[in-house]
């Protein structure tokens, strides 16, 4: 509760406001996401007070969700994968002149979902923290391995590509000085590599430079069609009655998926769409602008985003690329999210959570009446947009230590990102591997140091053993399931 006192101080309110405004503006722009934005702001915020800066980052995270929905509804090319589903019905509604209600249901649904999800977060956090206080290095290592497995081998089309991306990220994390022994690893006699490769360079390289190269090379042929906002923004009574249940169902779907390390927002949003279609009174409307198809997935999207903060704050476990970057932000100030942080810095954590409630309210206000402003941003011509993005990208990379080497790395990572985009290799595992890898190695070596080299420590501890069992299940479950399902229908 004292968190609210922190969140409502004028200074932090200002940070929150800045965050959600920036986040919405960024979320609206195609080609930029919350992960990239936060990564770019990391160096600029290094000298600031962590509470205010983290509040701003949370605001950016939320705002980007809201902003991304606006783009999906008004433009025929959605920004992030989580908003693809919104584009299905939302863009159709816009084409029929119903952009206003689509935007409204999306904003209000996001608000409902975000607020409920934050309440759930508030309730769940102490419970998980209590449990996590029993964790030792073996347990942490087990949980990190679970996170690695789910982010690379469970989601997405190809475990092989996901794992390749994960190992690549882990490798990048290796470069630099070993934290336990001070040995230089993989620095190739280049002094700039002694501190390792900064997460900002990798994130910005993959997201900004890689994306820019990819779009310019492959997707620059057509102009996007921007639907105008005719008519009023308000929803009719029937719109409301058709929306409120999907909002709640979407939240119920999205939050659990966000909390488990298997999440990401694609699954809950697609599930929500399918469920809404099944439950709708007029399912034939789906495909030409059914409002349930916007309300449900949008709520699911937001709830899932809040859900990812549960493992991140309570265990220090990032389950998406954005979460990994937020973790890197914490690390920048020497803070390690987890049960200990709840004990040593309760005001920071609870202030952060309280600011999310406030942020949701601000976003609702920002996004409905001020929608016209955000739409203007969508009208920036593509060449200028990407040119501007790269200015900030190079600024971010160069500003780290004024070294041209970082810019060279930026380009190299950018080309790698281009190839990854082109050949459908997922990006999230690289970031999770890079940021979580060194921590996992630390825990592994600590666990073995304590057990005097006894490897069975990972299975003799009950929690650790259970987590590894879950990991194994998660790995072999789906393929086995598919095989049985095929036998059943054969």
């Amino acid at each position: 509760m004292s968190g609210f006192a922190v969140a409502l101080t004028l200074k932090n309110l200002m940070w929150g406001f800045l965050g959600v405004t920036l986040g919405t503006a960024i979320g609206v722009l195609p080609g930029v996401g919350p992960a990239l934005t936060i990564a770019l702001l990391l160096p600029a915020t290094a000298g600031l007070d962590p509470t205010g800066a983290l509040i701003m980052f949370a605001g950016i995270y939320y705002g980007a969700m809201y902003g991304g929905s606006t783009t999906s509804i008004l433009l025929n090319t959605p920004g992030e994968s989580a908003t693809i589903v919104t584009a299905l019905e939302g863009n159709m509604m816009a084409k029929r002149g119903r952009a206003g209600p689509a935007l409204a249901t999306s904003a209000i649904g996001s608000f409902v979902a975000g607020t409920i999800a934050t309440i759930l977060l508030t309730v769940m956090a102490p419970i998980v923290v209590d449990f996590a206080l029993k964790f030792g290095p073996a347990e942490y290592f087990a949980v990190m391995v679970l996170a690695f497995t789910t982010v690379s081998a469970v989601l997405g089309a190809s475990p092989a590509r996901g794992l390749a991306a994960l190992f690549f990220g882990l490798m990048i994390g290796l470069i630099g000085l070993d934290s336990q022994t001070g040995q230089a690893r993989f620095t190739l006699a280049i002094p700039e590599l002694l501190d390792g490769i900064d997460v900002v360079v990798v994130a910005v390289g993959l997201f900004a430079v890689g994306e820019t190269l990819y779009i310019a090379t492959y997707l620059n042929r057509e102009e996007d069609r921007l639907e105008t906002m005719k008519g009023s923004i308000w929803m009719s009574k029937s719109d409301w009655s058709r929306s409120w249940k999907p909002w709640l169902r979407g939240t119920a779907l999205g939050f659990p998926f966000g909390t488990i390390p298997a999440g990401g927002a694609e699954i809950p949003t697609f599930l929500s769409y399918a469920i809404e279609k099944k439950l709708a009174k007029n399912p034939e409307e789906f495909g030409s602008g059914a409002i349930e198809g916007v309300a449900g997935p949008e709520a699911a999207n937001n709830a899932s985003a809040t859900g990812t903060l549960v493992p991140l704050l309570t265990l220090g476990l990032p389950t998406t690329a954005t979460a990994a970057i937020i973790l890197a932000a914490f690390q920048q100030w020497g803070l390690q999210p987890g049960p200990l942080l709840f004990e040593t810095q309760p005001l920071l954590i609870w202030g952060l959570i309280a600011s999310m409630y406030v942020g949701n309210v601000i976003l609702l206000v920002l996004n409905l009446p001020l929608i016209g402003i955000w739409v203007k941003l969508l009208e920036i011509p593509r060449p200028l947009l990407y040119a501007g993005i790269l200015i900030f990208a190079t600024l971010g990379a160069y500003g780290l230590r004024n070294s041209w080497f970082d810019l060279a790395l930026l380009y190299i990572v950018g080309v790698i990102g281009f190839l990854m985009r082109r050949y459908d290799v997922p990006v999230a595992p690289v970031l999770v591997g890079m940021i979580l890898g060194p921590l996992a190695e630390q825990q592994f070596r600590r666990a073995l140091a304590i057990s005097q080299g006894d490897l069975t420590v990972f299975v003799s501890h009950p929690i650790s053993a259970t987590v590894f069992a879950i990991t194994a299940l998660v790995l072999v479950g789906p393929p086995l399931w598919r095989r049985f399902a095929r036998k059943g229908t054969a």
């Binding site: 620059n220 990407y386 005097q452």
Partner: protein, 160 residues
């Protein structure tokens, strides 16, 4: 489906690249000085595992590439007509920026970058782009150096 052949070449090259990278990692690990530490777990274990993992994934992907292509890659006709000129122009922009920022300063380097990127995306209005670039770069320069305390190279201009 005649576009499948070039797809496999790219995939195969990337897979081979992964194998090469993994092998390199394993090989480089040998030159990391091993300190005994506790229980023989030193700074070499994880690099070995990671190198092995990279090589293994590379091998699996290489095998997939020659046996019908990587699994479940979504087909996208956009991939059949790459605009390598755009790629080249943008690459030149980024690399040129890297080369000149040290002595030309942030504003000039960023202007060059902006104009080239815009050109890469097809913008023909070089003068308009240059003006926008200068204004944007200058504004950003001052916000980040004065308000946020970053130190960016001034180049030939000397103020403050």
């Amino acid at each position: 489906m005649t576009a499948r052949a070039p797809l496999h070449t790219g995939e195969l090259l990337i897979s081979l690249g992964l194998i090469a990278l993994g092998t390199f990692v394993v090989w480089e690990t040998r030159s990391i000085a091993e300190t005994q530490g506790y229980a023989q777990i030193g700074p070499r274990l994880f690099p070995y595992i990671i190198g092995a993992g990279l090589t293994l994934c590379g091998a699996v992907l290489a095998w997939q590439a020659v046996a019908g292509g990587w699994r479940h890659v979504p087909q996208d006709e956009a991939h059949d007509v790459p605009d390598w000129t755009a790629f080249a122009i943008i690459s030149v922009g980024v690399l040129l920026h890297m080369a000149i920022i040290g002595w030309a300063g942030f504003i000039i380097a960023s202007t060059v970058l902006f104009v080239l990127i815009a050109r890469g995306f097809g913008s023909r209005r070089v003068v308009r782009d240059a003006i926008i670039a200068v204004v944007l770069s200058t504004v950003v320069f001052f916000i980040f150096t004065l308000a946020l305390g970053l130190s960016l190279p001034k180049g030939p201009f000397n103020w403050g």
